[in-house]
Every structure is written in C-alpha cells, then in structure tokens.
Symmetry: C2
Subunit: 156 residues, 2 copies
C-alpha cells in the first residue's frame, strides 16, 4: 500500500476510473430518449446548478442572444419542465426555475448513478459493506464540510 497522500489520491482516482469503465452507461441513453435538445438540456443544467435565474443570466451562461434564450425557455415551459414568473421586486425581471418534472428529469441523472451503485455493491459481504458505509459517510462529511454544509445545490 502507498504511503503518502498524493499517491493515494492518484491510486483512488485510477481505481475509480476503472470502475466507471467497467459499468456500462445504459441508463444515460434512456435519459436522453426524451425529445429534448442539447440547448434545452444545458438550460436545465444551469437552472439545476444555479437555482432560479433571470432570463438574461441564462442567456449569458449559454452565451446566446437574449431573444434566443427566450425561445429556448419558451420550449421548456411548453414541455412543462420550467416555470417562468415575474420578480415582485422588479417586474421587468423574469425568473425561471425548474418545475417538479424538470427537477425529476435532471435528478434522473444522479439517480442513474445510484442505480450503478447498486450493481457495485451487489455480492459484497457484510464486513465489506460496513467498511463501504463508513467510507461513504466519511466522504459525505468531507464534501459537506467543503461546500459549506448546505448540500443540494440550493434550488429554492
């Protein structure tokens, strides 16, 4: 077993890379079977990571004209993946946020990871599972300490 932290991190990265390689990405294909476009998917991801956003902010992150963003969001609203509402403080602003269906769609991206995790754990002994649970707990503690405690991305 390696001794210093850097080597250990490297080793873990390598190993987890091999794990990713061994698991087939069947689920992601399912996810993409919806009749959605890449521009729309990117907008959904922006709303997922950034939380509710004004139209101009979406346009700037997507790096397109404001009118283009309007069109993309319009299509997402029509699909009931996004809701659009006026900001009560400044009624010029339009705030866009994920609808429950939109959250579910994007959430499926993580759930597909969980699904893979099941295959990963299948067949382990009780001892091994205990050790894995310990490490998972430890990693969660670490990441929530690093991100400031509030896990979940802050989608209000």
């Amino acid at each position: 077993m390696k001794q210093n932290k850097e080597a250990l991190v490297q080793y873990i990265l390598e190993t987890s890379g091999n794990i990713y390689g061994a698991l087939n990405p069947t689920i992601r294909l399912e996810l993409l079977s919806s009749d959605i476009t890449v521009a729309q998917l990117r907008a959904l991801l922006i709303l997922h990571t950034g939380g509710p956003s004004r139209m101009s902010s979406i346009a700037s992150v997507l790096d397109v004209a404001l009118s283009t963003a309007t069109g993309i969001v319009e299509n997402l609203v029509r699909k009931e993946l996004v809701v659009r509402e006026a900001d009560p403080h400044d009624r010029r602003l339009v705030i866009c946020k994920l609808s429950p269906a939109g959250q579910e769609l994007i959430g499926g991206l993580w759930r597909s990871g969980e699904f893979q995790m099941e295959r990963l754990l299948d067949g382990l002994t009780l001892e091994q599972l205990k050790k894995a649970a310990e490490v998972a707990e430890m990693l969660l503690d670490n990441v929530s300490r690093n991100t400031g405690g509030a896990a979940g991305g802050g989608v209000e």
Copy 2:
C-alpha cells in the same frame, strides 16, 4: 451502525445520493457545449456500449428509419467522431465505430466523474485516504468479478 446487508446497501445508496447532490454538475455542462445534437449523442452512446455496429442496428436501437440513421451517422463522420467502413465478409454491411476523438468525447463523461472524485478526496487525512483506497480496490474487484473480468466495454 446497521446490522444487515440490505439496510447497509440502502444506507450507502442514500449517502452516495447525498454526495452526488452536494457536488455540482458543472462539468457535464462543459461536455455539452460542443455543437452536438441529442440524436448524435445517443448514437455515440450506442457505439460506446455496443461496440462497432452496422447501420441497421443503430437505426433499430434509435428507433428511426434506416435513412435517418444514415444521416445522423453521416454528421458524426463529418465531425470525425465516428468512422464508417465496409464489412469484408458481407460488403452490403456498413460498420460504424467510434473514432479516437469520439471515444475521448464519451470517455469525458466518465472522466468528469473522476474530476468530481478529486473534490471528494480533497482534505482527507492519510488514514481516511487509506481506508478509501481499500474500499475502491474492493469495489473494483467486485465489479470486475461480476462483469466477467474484462473491463472496458469491448470497443475493439
């Protein structure tokens, strides 16, 4: 700490779900910044999971007409993400496979996971890293035993 295997598996799934939630999916957005369409992405995923495939097979998995599949693959070939070649045994068949660039693009999907992993490990103590390395090794052993040892998806 829970005692039985099922409860432990459940606990690990929950915990890893929270870890996924706490990590922002910034990278996936980067990935999608390419000027690629969802249909093209799905075709790439098919080739990644299934390996080299004939045109009719792609059409059937995508559930589109053969002529449509021809068009989609044509665009991928133009982007140099896929190569198309005739089968020497039956020269009616056209075999499509990922180009190195195509493999790299899809591989980036997993590498984005590795990138997240770095953030996950950042700040752990030496003891914690050792434990994490053990578990990673254990999971890799398990998954390669389950999938038959040959990790990598079989893209010839």
